[in-house]
């Protein structure tokens, strides 16, 4: 509408800039710095880490399934929810797809498509349990993860399928050839291309699409979203369905990577994926965070783990260090976020007198 109010000649001139247009901020930049340090550091210190670009890119095959889960999960966490069922969803859809192929002779790619669709449906079930039964996401997806896990074991049988056709195993271990310039042949893993495509898609989705806007709004304030005429239920349903679909995609990539399925193959995904999302700067309370941060954090944690293993650290030490890094980085982020005058002052102020805790957003 046009308002016939003559505002006083620009009493408050406004510069039309919009700092959120670029989906990166200080945290994403800090993570990128960390990523560079990790790659360069291990490249220099751990023989075998960098033996050419192909080896470096090839390392990503070992952790990108976690990244695919993290991308989907970040949508759910942005809404302020959580999805503990991603591991079970990944296993169940991979097992079912493999059985479709091995028992019923369905084409492997068609079976894989069914698997991803099934993941979406399982996500819908999660959303249904959360919305219809009114159960908190944490406990709802915990419950469904038990159900899906059982179903995966039942579907797998005593001898789960393995030995997929060559084309399918390329998804997990092949490189993109033919499409790219010849100089890049054998260099870029298919997994990396898939991940990059989803990273770009999700980044645009969250930062600039109407759905992303609504998603973030629901995450910050479900009530305000509802009063703005947003059908919050649909937003949640979409987020959980996407999370489920991404989890099953990860399950299928794992199936291809291992050239086999197992009913518990997705179990390892959950904790690492949550760590990736959180380290990426997405607030566990919803609303805050960017996909770009999650993408960088996937690479940081992935390369860090691979680098440490190659440098000869045990699985255990590597896991411990990941935990420590998560804690330290969030602690540092919190300290700087307090808009203080300096780190030392902040620490001192904290020791002297703790800040009043944040108000309860209930």
């Amino acid at each position: 509408m046009t308002m016939d109010m003559r505002a006083p000649a620009n009493a408050n001139a406004v510069t039309p800039r919009n700092r959120r247009r670029l989906p990166v901020g200080g945290w994403e930049l800090a993570l990128t710095g960390l990523l560079a340090a990790v790659v360069v550091g291990f490249g220099a210190a751990a023989p075998g880490f960098y033996t050419g670009p192909a080896s470096l890119l090839g390392l990503t095959e070992n952790f990108l399934p976690f990244g695919l889960v993290a991308l989907g999960l970040s949508l759910v966490i942005l809404t302020g929810g959580i999805d503990l069922s991603v591991g079970a969803v990944a296993s169940l859809s991979a097992v079912l797809a493999a059985q479709l192929w091995s028992r019923f002779g369905v084409d492997i790619w068609a079976a894989a498509a069914v698997g991803v669709a099934l993941g979406g449906v399982l996500g819908l079930v999660n959303a249904g349990v959360i919305l219809r039964l009114g159960i908190e996401p944490l406990i709802a997806t915990l419950g469904t993860s038990f159900l899906y896990g059982s179903a995966a074991v039942a579907a797998a049988g005593a001898e789960p399928p393995s030995g997929f056709p060559g084309g399918f195993t390329a998804l997990g271990t092949g490189t993109v050839d033919g499409v790219l310039p010849a100089s890049l042949a054998g260099l870029v893993p298919i997994q990396l291309v898939v991940f990059a495509a989803f990273a770009v898609l999700f980044s645009a989705l969250v930062a600039r699409s109407p759905f992303g806007r609504v998603l973030v709004m629901v995450g910050y304030s479900p009530d305000a979203a509802r009063y703005s005429g947003i059908r919050t239920g649909r937003v949640l349903v979409t987020a959980y369905a996407v999370s489920g679909a991404m989890a099953s995609l990860a399950g299928l990539v794992l199936a291809s990577y291992y050239d086999a399925v197992r009913p518990d193959m997705g179990d390892v995904l959950l904790l690492t994926a949550i760590t990736m999302v959180v380290l990426g700067g997405v607030s566990i309370f919803g609303g805050e965070g960017t996909v770009a941060g999650v993408v960088v954090s996937v690479l940081v944690l992935g390369f860090l783990r691979q680098g440490m293993l190659i440098a000869g650290f045990s699985d255990m030490v590597t896991t411990m260090l990941t935990g420590a890094i998560l804690l330290a980085s969030i602690a540092v982020k919190n300290l700087f976020n307090r808009r203080g005058t300096g780190l030392a002052n902040q620490i001192w102020a904290m020791i002297r007198r703790p800040e009043p805790p944040r108000a309860n957003p209930s």
Partner: protein
């Protein structure tokens, strides 16, 4: 207890659906009864004794978890803490003949120290609880591993086994069950009738308001995480006494962290904090144990046990939920 409960601060008289204890007692008894009809062996004293015993370890962990959730927190690190304590106590007993009282001391000290670490990270460094305990989950799991150096506990001295299985002074009720009753009573009293417990609930209701009302919120938070660590480590000791074994995956392998959260919420504690039910927690754990045993008696194929557990969680949480929009 009922006389005291009548004078407790319970706001308005809740309907039976909101008395989670009653619901749980009813459904547990009903499931036991039904299974008993199908297979009378279920209702023998011996079997019920084990149903109870099997729930003790989880109950103790879940009591700590209940206090943490009551304060609007969450503690995922209980699982590795339980494993660490089981491993440390078990290995010291197995190879160095550590006496039982020493093991108790070590378990408690370990839990207190590492639980306090969680508390400091959450309360003083302001790291969200789920992130803090996700991080310490890896750290504590690593400590277990480093300590055990690839070995496992498969044998504990007779004193331990006696503590874990027999009743004191020849009573038919095993010691762990009695210990659980004591711990539950202590937690119940603390939460419902002590200043500390009421402060915990106040923090769970509204931390800023609690601070402004003069409560030392930071200290309370640290204390509750310390308590949760303490109970988790104590349960690890009970575990090693009861089963006589421990491996590096004790606790984490059975997903005690998720089970304890589930049991606390099924017991009637609000995930958004501010309201807690310790008796409900223990009853929910007993219910879980009953269901899992019942599945065997009903000859349900083992692969569906975990589905049964999941369904039970959803149904029980659903039964009498007052809608709370909050999330973790």
């Amino acid at each position: 207890m009922s006389a005291a409960a009548a004078r407790s601060p319970a706001a308005s008289r809740p309907s039976w659906r909101e008395r989670r204890e009653l619901v749980l007692v009813a459904v547990t008894a009903a499931s036991a009864g039904v299974v008993g009809l199908v297979n009378p062996g279920f209702l023998t004293f011996e079997n019920l004794r084990f149903v109870a015993l099997n729930s003790v370890v989880l109950s103790i962990v879940a009591l700590g978890q209940t206090l943490v959730i009551a304060m609007r927190g969450i503690d995922l690190s209980v699982a590795p803490l339980m494993g660490l304590s089981a491993m440390v106590c078990g290995l010291l007993a197995q190879s160095h003949g550590l006496p039982l009282w020493g093991a108790v001391g070590i378990a408690l000290a370990l839990g207190l120290a590492l639980g306090t670490l969680n508390g400091v990270l959450v309360a003083a460094l302001n790291i969200p609880p789920i992130i803090t305990t996700l991080g310490t989950y890896s750290l504590f799991g690593g400590l277990t591993f480093l300590y055990s150096d690839g070995t496992q506990v498969d044998q504990v001295p007779p004193a331990y086994a006696a503590f874990g299985n027999a009743g004191p002074l020849g009573l038919p009720v095993p010691t762990p069950v009695l210990v659980l009753v004591l711990v539950t009573a202590a937690c119940w009293f603390a939460l419902n009738h002590s200043r500390f417990g009421r402060a915990v609930l106040a923090v769970g209701n509204n931390a800023a308001a609690a601070y402004n009302a003069g409560l030392r919120v930071t200290a309370i938070r640290i204390q509750v995480y310390a308590l949760s660590g303490l109970l988790a480590c104590f349960s690890g000791l009970v575990f090693v006494c009861y089963t006589g074994s421990a491996t590096v995956t004790t606790g984490t392998g059975d997903h005690v962290e998720l089970q304890s959260i589930a049991v606390a919420l099924v017991g009637g504690t609000l995930i958004a904090g501010g309201r807690a039910n310790v008796v409900g927690t223990v009853l929910a754990s007993l219910f879980l144990s009953t269901v899992l045993t019942a599945l065997v008696f009903l000859q349900v194929p083992p692969i569906w046990y975990s589905a049964g557990e999941g369904l039970m969680i959803l149904v029980a949480v659903r039964g009498g939920t007052r809608r709370a929009g909050g999330t973790a």
